[in-house]
Symmetry: C2
Subunit: 142 residues, 2 copies
């Protein structure tokens, strides 16, 4: 599930933005690269806690915040109460299934070339969230 990133690629990415590639940070990056479901901090914590027994939620929050500040991951606000994170930084949209709650990426080719200016305002970034019924739910196996 998801495209995996080599350890070297992850370390390079962290090095590039001046973040020391510690064990915890690498594991969080790896998790984000491999699990493209836009996990919450909680999900990351629960999953990695098994592999790293001393792992703490504080570290998850600290690290995600740091990675976001450095522009290596991006935070995604949804209508849920928890923030979701992703390491996919190519321009894309999101689809949220209102039935099964799945949240996945959408190619939005139109968006990449979307207006840089709209009504006189300078656009730096677009966030597109489509909500509806995903293919799986639609195809009956409710």
């Amino acid at each position: 599930m998801g495209m995996s990133l080599s350890l070297k690629e992850i370390c390079d990415t962290l090095d590039r933005v001046g973040i020391r590639p510690t064990h915890q940070r690498i594991e969080i990056m790896k998790y984000l690269a491999e699990h493209r479901v836009h996990p919450t901090a909680e999900m990351i914590y629960t999953e990695l806690k098994e592999a790293i027994p001393t792992f703490s939620k504080t570290t998850v929050y600290n690290t995600l915040k740091l990675l976001e500040e450095k522009g290596v991951v991006s935070a995604l606000a949804t209508d849920e109460d928890q923030v979701r994170y992703e390491a996919n930084l190519t321009p894309h949209g999101h689809f949220k299934c209102v039935r099964c709650s799945a949240l996945f990426d959408l190619d939005l080719p139109a968006m990449a070339s979307a207006a840089q200016e709209i009504e006189g305002n300078l656009v730096l970034e677009y966030q597109v969230l489509a909500k509806g019924i995903c293919r799986q739910c639609r195809d009956g196996r409710d």
Copy 2:
């Protein structure tokens, strides 16, 4: 600022969805109609507290939740920690200024006719959030 809605229109709206038009509820609706800055619960509370001394935050939250369930207002998730609300239910996008934090509506005519289906998923609703520098901030008076 904002288009105002007559008391009658507000009562009609509430009646239509089966919500009893109490004083507090009417004031909240009126505030949303008149202040199209997508206020938070806190903002609504602070403003109306002056006019209604016994006004409570619980009522704000209860009412907004009720209004949202009935489809009379919509909640808008942003990257801030507070939820923002609006009574403008016509399809539109949002612009968030990263400099002055203003959040305002955008006409997105393209969006109204946007795909009803994308990659096999049934789209019920689009949320578009453009982030950047708004016209005012751009025009120098930082």
